[in-house]
Symmetry: C2
Subunit: 74 residues, 2 copies
């Protein structure tokens, strides 16, 4: 059948491994992708200021702090 | 001078207004963009399951809950 046009959301999990180094200060953008029909885990894909993309573990305490800091920075 | 190649991060604020309706369940992806040299406020751009993009207010309690839920969903 016709492959549904991707709505910018991949049809499978996008992260194979996650970054362990604490790179919070180098993040230019963080994409949060909730569990969906194509991937059974939440994924976070960070774009660094260099343009490089890395996956972050949503359950890692340092990642939770980074997201918290982004949300509360004025 | 040469315009720096955009690293996928806009050179200005991207959100003019934010969505007031509680649309948490319709979010396919949420992009968190920290304060940077081009925009003095954190921005959240959500892509809905329809593909539509809307801006969310990082300081709105319901938005904080949505981000929290995405982060903690297994």
């Amino acid at each position: 059948g016709r492959i549904p046009r991707s709505l910018g959301v991949e049809l499978h999990c996008r992260c194979i491994k996650t970054e362990s180094k604490h790179i919070g200060s180098r993040i230019a953008k963080a994409e949060l992708i909730p569990v969906n029909s194509h991937c059974d885990k939440t994924e976070i894909i960070a774009t660094l200021k260099t343009g490089q993309k890395v996956c972050l573990d949503p359950e890692a305490p340092w990642v939770k702090k980074v997201i918290q800091r982004i949300m509360s920075s004025k």
